[in-house]
């Protein structure tokens, strides 16, 4: 038997609006998400596949590095700086040493400057190679590119191990120089690694640069304008991919960088693809610096002989020292009141400040692109949360 149910008796449904609040879905990406490169959370509000809002949540790895350093002697903080950006411990050492040298007016001997440049640029090589590998991993090319990068990183970490005794927590710099000189045969070993590196780069570029899937996923995604990049304090490859011509190695001419011929690659579009290409180009420039530095390194002391490391008390005053670390501008701001430990110790973390624009980059993109955009910023949570 058929009951007579007239359609007019049913209440009429509201038409679904595309932007109504009920349509939005809020999800927490992280802190356990594998693509966040550590413990980092993004509260993402989605409209379908598209990102409407994105709020980063920091602090999961916060251990108040600055407070600890203020209750520690100047030298005592040196090993702890390794743990900031644990991918590039040596450049962290360098930035801290540079700030203390500015504060106390310490001169660094010639050979130590060359050593610093060599290990600093090796650090940049391994950081950029791995970053590209991680970025590929985030976009789903599971394994291969990352393992290629890790194979090369391994060679550089072996060099660090035979030079400093540690693969990652190097604790290599001292105020006014370096901790140890290179062991016999180290320079030849390093020259071999640098000589072989372009072959790896060629192979890596052939594999990735003209890959259609990669171009689809990265070109035009997460575009950062030049104006916003400057105003939001972007630094390092992140800023240069947006066309900001600012490399602290060129601008400040710290250490001995004015002696080397290298160029500063710049991006034209500021998208994820540019940010990732810029790393390839920077590695090629780093190789030029390395070749020149290894050719020219003079003999001599590696630390200022007049430098008193124990009981080191800089005169009252303050200094801000910064270097071009692989992630961007890494700065240390120190205030001395004439005692054994700094009155104020501040790290200017490039990873954290480069995340200022994360929401601007992600709005309107697909949720899968958030992962690629975050990967292209190049963060290490040890430095973001300090």
């Amino acid at each position: 038997m058929i009951t007579d149910a007239s359609p007019a008796a049913q209440p009429e449904l509201e038409p679904l609006s595309e932007t109504s609040e009920e349509q939005l879905l809020e999800i927490a990406m992280g802190p356990q998400h594998p693509s966040t490169h550590g413990v980092f959370r993004m509260n993402v509000v989605l409209d379908g596949e598209h990102v409407v809002r994105l709020k980063p949540v920091f602090g999961y790895l916060h251990r108040n590095h600055e407070k600890i350093a203020e209750s520690e002697t100047y030298l005592g903080s040196m090993p702890y700086t390794d743990r900031l950006d644990y991918m590039c411990p040596i450049t962290n050492n360098w930035a801290y040493a540079l700030a203390v040298e500015k504060l106390a007016g310490i001169q660094v001997p010639e050979r130590a400057e060359y050593l610093r440049v060599i290990v600093g640029e090796l650090t940049r090589l391994q950081n950029h190679a791995c970053l590209i590998g991680f970025l590929m991993q985030d976009m789903g090319s599971s394994g291969t590119p990352l393992m290629y990068a890790f194979r090369e990183r391994e060679k550089i970490l072996d060099l660090f191990e035979s030079l400093t005794g540690a693969r990652m927590m190097c604790n290599y710099m001292r105020f006014g120089g370096c901790r140890v000189d290179m062991p016999a045969g180290w320079l030849e070993q390093a020259q071999n690694v640098v000589r072989e590196f372009p072959r790896f780069l060629d192979e890596y570029e052939n594999l990735l640069v003209s890959n259609e899937i990669l171009m689809e996923r990265t070109q035009g995604v997460g575009v950062l304008s030049k104006e916003l990049a400057i105003n939001a304090g972007m630094s390092g490859p992140m800023a240069r991919a947006s066309g900001v011509n600012y490399d602290i190695r060129k601008v400040d001419k710290y250490s001995i960088y004015e002696r080397f011929a290298f160029r500063v690659p710049l991006g034209a579009h500021g998208d994820v693809y540019d940010r990732y290409m810029i790393r390839f180009l920077e590695m090629r420039e780093s190789l030029k610096i390395l070749n020149e530095a290894m050719r020219d390194i003079p003999a001599g002391p590696i630390v200022d002989p007049k430098m008193r490391i124990r009981g080191f008390r800089p005169k009252p005053g303050e200094a801000y020292g910064r270097i071009e670390s692989p992630k961007g501008e890494l700065g240390f701001y120190l205030i001395s009141n004439g005692s054994l430990n700094p009155y104020r110790y501040r790290v200017r973390p490039p990873s954290l400040i480069n995340l200022t624009v994360l929401e601007d980059l992600c709005i309107g993109q697909n949720v899968a692109d958030v992962v690629a955009i975050l990967g292209s910023v190049d963060i290490v949570l040890g430095e973001v949360d300090r």
Binding site: E66, G105, N231, A232, G233, P316, E318, Y320, I353, T356
Partner: protein
């Protein structure tokens, strides 16, 4: 760039602003410019936009805590004691309120010069710890000012999104202040031991001592029950 010329240029551009050169005795030679809170935003905009200055990159923003000092001095006073004028020595303590200072390091990407250092101070460390936010001028201050608000307790007026950055929202203190004392109960320690156990027990007995005397008898057994022991709870 000479800080003196920057100062006179700013004074001409922003009428009424009070600027002060702060010398830095360190060999770094990075002297700084103290600006007043009322004209801070105008000064910042001028530093960013004036064609000769163009400090478009605000690289580093950080806070410094200068706690108040208590000084005691002996003061000789003439007083009436037992009906006669006598000279009496008295101890007088004066307390300065202290301040929280915020430091901005500016560079110019266009002109490739810098740094110049801006400083701003709050009136005290408690109720009046307010400063104008420079985030509307330089976006790069956004997260860094949030961090100062979190760790030092400076309230930035005009900041678009002033929340704690590193500590959790329910946290009440400001850990980077010089007089910050860490907590002495470790509730998050699942099996307290060694130093943590000692301090946790100390905390419990301190809490018991604070209770009124008749309550202690009732409370005592409970406290004993709460008393943590090595490997307890297994």
């Amino acid at each position: 760039m000479n800080l003196e010329t920057i100062k006179s240029e700013l004074e001409a551009a922003v009428p009424g602003c009070r600027l002060e050169l702060v010398a830095n005795p360190s060999p770094s030679g990075q002297h700084s410019l103290r600006i007043d809170a009322a004209h801070a935003v105008a000064v910042a905009v001028c530093l960013r936009d004036a064609p000769g200055l163009r400090f478009d990159l605000c690289s580093n923003v950080t806070g410094i805590d200068w706690p108040g000092k208590q000084t005691t001095e002996k003061v000789k006073l003439r007083k009436l004691v037992d009906g006669t004028q006598q000279e009496v020595e008295e101890l007088r303590t004066t307390t300065t309120p202290g301040s929280l200072e915020v430091v901005y390091h500016l560079f110019s990407i266009e002109k490739k010069h810098g740094p110049i250092v801006l400083r701003m101070s709050t009136q005290d460390r408690d109720a009046n710890a307010h400063l104008p936010s420079l985030t509307p001028v330089w976006r790069s201050a956004e997260l860094q000012e949030r961090e100062i608000f979190d760790l030092f307790g400076v309230v930035f007026d005009g900041h678009p999104d002033l929340r704690r950055l590193l500590m959790w929202d329910e946290f009440v203190d400001h850990p980077m202040r010089r007089d910050y004392v860490g907590p002495d109960d470790y509730e998050y320690e699942p099996t307290a031991h060694d130093e943590v156990l000692r301090r946790a027990n100390q905390h419990l007995s301190e809490a018991a001592a604070k209770l009124p005397s008749e309550a202690v008898g009732n409370q005592q057994s409970e406290t004993d029950g709460n008393r943590l022991s090595e490997g307890g709870g297994r």
